[in-house]
């Protein structure tokens, strides 16, 4: 529990509604979307504006109390579990759209805004904000920025970092900084905006963001291609890109996923297929037609067994069902679902999938792989049971090997979920000892007393997965 002085200061600042430390509140802020990880905070605060965030931080800094800022707590890397106790700061009350600037095509929002609400709002104004993480119905813009969330449209439109052009943030000292602005060009010093995007709440608390908006595409077309040869699917992906076509979506399901999805959604998918590609193109109508026709040709030339192009929106929706039900179908198989996001250069997709299957067989664990083939971002997903310690151990061993394989193929341990606590032991594999030292230096400059989201990003020792058996 917090010391009386700190508690009194925070209560005076926030009132009983804004500061809570009862057991119910602490238990319900002890987890996020990460399996098997739970730790109780000492208190939870709900600030209403930037000034309050700053004042809270001054109190916590004076008492050296750690703080974890969070939105809806949907992340998959343990990024918002308060593993060193302290205070959890929920940003939900700061959820306003401050401005949509139709002259500059920017929006300025508070961090607690739900991403989908934001997307719906800008769409109603005839504009487009592309980052679409699958949690967007509940995840917040602030959380998306902290994790640099991706989504299905990353290949053509980029991820959250490509749309954040300005930030307001509170430092560990309580000072308020502003970075960037409604500027398409800005080279005044180090790019602190980009540094804060994806910093997982370890450098500062984001309190306001200026986002870039773009005009929406006019037309969209969807198709599905099935392959009995995994390499045929992989070659298709490479060849589409080689042909200078960048699809809006280029998604992939492997054979184990196809089986699970078909069993769940009864789609009549051919169960002997090694892979399915779901492809969407958007843009000017003529261009979409031309690209889809060209992609269809490429699929056939790479021995796709079946190619289906949707004639209308209803048919497109049907084709999308296979990919959309992947996570749901997997989540229902076993009690615990561990979703990772190893990422490789897109030319290495087939090699990575074969590696994953080999490693899963070696450790006798069930891993299905689907994901964003167009940007090399795969989601090997283990279905298991948190109560079976021996099996969980095998799953962890398998994932360690999968991370290793990804790096060997020129890839990374995480494409869009973040490092948090779950992948902290592997960060050094990706960035090296010098890279870690540099990152720790940056961290110390921003947060000399290690108060902001402590225990994340940097592990005490590499190559050890940190999980607990309750949660």
């Amino acid at each position: 529990m917090l010391n009386e002085e700190a508690k009194a200061a925070l209560t005076a600042l926030l009132g009983n509604e804004g500061y809570r430390d009862d057991k119910e509140t602490r238990v319900t802020h002890s987890y996020d979307g990460t399996p098997m990880l739970q730790a109780l905070p000492d208190a939870v605060v709900y600030p209403s504006d930037t000034q309050q965030v700053s004042e809270i931080m001054k109190v916590l800094n004076a008492h050296r109390i750690p703080l974890v800022s969070r939105g809806s707590g949907t992340n998959l890397c343990g990024g918002t579990v308060p593993v060193e106790g302290g205070v959890v700061m929920v940003m939900h009350r700061m959820n306003r759209i401050l401005e949509v600037d139709l002259e500059n095509l920017t929006a300025t929002v508070q961090p607690g805004l739900i991403t989908k609400q934001f997307i719906s709002h800008v769409e109603s104004l005839g504009l487009f904000y592309p980052p679409d993480p699958s949690s967007m119905a509940i995840s917040t813009i602030g959380g998306n920025i902290a994790e640099c969330s991706g989504g299905l449209r990353g290949l053509k439109y980029g991820t959250t970092k490509d749309y954040v052009i300005g930030l307001e943030a509170v430092l560990a000292s309580g000072e308020i900084i502003r970075t960037g602005g409604k500027l398409m060009k800005d080279v005044a010093g180090y790019d602190l905006t980009k540094l804060l995007v994806g910093s997982e709440g370890t450098l500062a608390i984001i309190t306001e963001a200026t986002l870039k908006l773009i005009p929406p595409p006019k037309a969209k077309k969807t198709m599905l291609a099935m392959y009995s040869d995994l390499y045929g699917a992989a070659r298709t992906v490479s060849k589409i890109i080689e042909s200078r076509i960048i699809p809006a979506t280029l998604e992939f399901l492997d054979n184990p996923t196809i089986r699970v999805v078909d069993d769940f959604a009864k789609l009549g998918l051919p169960l002997d297929m090694a892979a399915i590609l779901l492809i969407e193109q958007d843009g000017e109508p003529e261009l979409v037609e031309r690209d889809i026709a060209r992609i269809e040709e490429i699929c056939r030339s790479e021995q796709a067994d079946r190619v289906e192009v949707a004639e209308d929106a209803a048919q497109a929706l049907k084709l999308l069902t296979a990919r959309r039900s992947a996570f749901t179908a997997l989540a229902r198989l076993r009690p615990t679902t561990i979703l990772e996001d190893a990422t490789v250069p897109r030319s290495k997709i087939a090699d990575m999938v074969l590696e994953i299957n080999r490693i899963a067989a070696k450790h006798n664990v069930n891993i299905c792989t689907f994901g964003h083939a167009g940007d090399g971002n795969l989601h090997p997903t283990a279905t298991t049971d948190a109560r079976d310690a021996e099996e969980i151990h095998r799953v962890e061993e398998a994932f360690a090997e999968i991370f290793e394989a990804a790096i060997a193929l020129g890839g990374t341990i995480t494409g869009e979920h973040g490092v948090g606590i779950v992948k902290a032991p592997y960060l050094e594999w990706k960035v090296g000892a010098a890279g870690i030292a540099l990152m720790q230096g940056i961290k110390a400059t921003f947060d000399p007393h290690h108060l902001l989201n402590p225990g994340k990003l940097f592990a005490k020792s590499a190559r050890r997965r940190v999980v607990i058996d309750r949660g």
Binding site: E24, Y31, A39, G73, S135, I138
Partner: protein
């Protein structure tokens, strides 16, 4: 960097009796199945109003699990939080992992009911009398109906209202009294008999589930249901031996009583030899389709319960899926079509998964224009007896709901469940613009153009 301090469960040296009961009752598999993705949060009405994790399905499951794991002792706040849930089950269609939240919350309430100290003795006594002595016995329900009818017809109601006596009750109860429909001492069987032949060629023989409250407070709707079904080509039987579905018992944590009622209903409809069990109340229907779960541990009844659950269907779904759709026409409509809208019954939508069929029926009525109510899938705050036990939250939900209803420009609000119907009437009474609130069956029945 310091080694992360991971909080493991500190086992409680002495579990309190409620904690022990919860540990026994809560389905550990379901608790484990929740992967805390948070997808249920935007679907939850109480989370939306309060914006606090503990007021969400993920939060409530985490609390249950914390108790089952011995991380926390269930206290009054825990009890209050479990009772704060509407039980609308909007979280279930939103859940990727198919967690049976409805079952978990019933298990939690069941355990709480055994141990609570927050009910006063007379509340416990009254609950027992109503749940054991009245709801399961249709004759006694009818007696109750006659008593209410007497109150309404003899001028006692006028006296009560005129004398200001109702002011002695909390405002929300006095409001409820004002919107109560005329009760009846005669149920649907007494009114029209047990067996009703199909008009034209018979498509199937179906059994009407009359509902205990439905049959006393909304007898007319039951009569109309039978007429719509026969018109659409169904022979209708109303088995006399049926009784209350057990919803109020199951939702209030009286699982043994709910099982007893379930077995008796299954036997009644099996004996009637029907192809479907038709309901016109989403709340009852949701309990009936759960009979397979309710009796899953009962070897003798398991198979029969599965048959029953698979053959329960809402009237709108049956009409659309298998019936010869009658012609409906709104002759009262002038040059402008009558504008109608619809509030989903949560249990019909989220548990029976029927949402398209009523909309198709409404769109088929000539002379009307159907307008979709924004957030029609969100609970109105009725939720069984929630509006009586949790008036504050129910009132907030209703006020939000009526704001949206007032924006539709509709002159009729239709719904598919008696609880929702009363709540929407209450909404009209408090915040409305004088529009009609009707059960979809009654609305359609009035506009039925008989086949020649």
């Amino acid at each position: 960097m310091a080694e992360p301090k991971l909080q493991t469960a500190e086992p409680l040296t002495r579990l309190n009796p409620l904690a022990q009961k919860l540990k026994l009752r809560l389905d550990e598999d379901q608790l484990t199945n929740c992967m805390r993705c948070g997808f249920c949060l935007p679907a939850c009405p109480t989370f939306r109003v309060r914006g606090i994790e503990a007021e969400s399905p993920r939060g409530r499951i985490a609390l249950m699990k914390a108790v089952a794991d011995g991380v926390m002792d269930p206290d009054e706040a825990f009890e209050a939080q479990m009772n704060h849930c509407l039980g609308c089950r909007a979280c279930e269609p939103a859940c990727p992992a198919d967690v049976k939240y409805g079952q978990l919350i019933e298990q939690a309430r069941d355990a709480i009911e055994d141990h609570t100290t927050s009910h006063r003795w007379w509340v416990k006594g009254l609950r027992r009398t109503m749940l054991r002595g009245v709801f399961p016995k249709q004759k006694r329900m009818q007696m109750l109906g006659r008593a209410i009818a007497l109150y309404q017809r003899t001028g006692l109601q006028r006296l009560a209202r005129g004398s200001g006596m109702l002011k002695l009750f909390p405002a929300h109860l006095a409001d409820m009294e004002a919107i109560l429909p005329p009760a009846s001492g005669q149920g649907v069987i007494e009114r029209i008999g047990v067996r009703h032949p199909a008009k034209g060629e018979r498509i199937a023989t179906v059994g009407l589930f009359r509902g205990c409250i439905m049959d006393v407070m909304f007898t007319e709707t039951n009569v109309n249901t039978v007429e719509l079904l026969t018109e659409a080509g169904f022979e209708v039987v109303i088995p006399e031996a049926q009784n209350c579905c057990g919803a109020l018992h199951a939702h209030s944590g009286e699982a043994d009583d709910a099982r007893r009622l379930a077995r008796s209903n299954i036997a009644a409809f099996r004996a009637a030899g029907v192809e479907h069990i038709v309901t016109n109340a989403g709340g009852c229907g949701a309990t009936l389709v759960d009979y397979d779960h309710l009796l899953h541990a009962d070897e003798e009844w398991r198979e029969e319960a599965r048959w029953f659950a698979e053959h329960v269907i809402d009237i709108s779904e049956l009409l659309v899926r298998r019936g010869r759709l009658p012609h409906f026409c709104d002759t009262a409509a002038g040059s402008e079509p009558t504008c109608i809208t619809y509030q989903d019954s949560c249990h019909l939508r989220n548990v029976m998964r029927t949402s398209d069929a009523p909309r198709r029926l409404m769109r088929s009525v000539e002379g009307t224009a159907y307008v979709e109510l924004p957030e029609a899938d969100r609970c109105c705050g009725s939720a069984g007896i929630y509006n009586i036990t949790q008036p504050e939250m129910a009132g907030q939900l209703l006020e939000d709901k009526m704001g949206l209803v007032n924006g539709t420009g509709a002159s009729y609000v239709l719904t598919s469940n008696p609880g929702c119907l009363l709540q929407m009437k209450l909404g009209e009474h408090r915040h409305g613009e004088g529009r009609q609130v009707e059960h979809i069956v009654d609305f359609l029945h009035k506009r039925l153009v008989p086949r020649t």
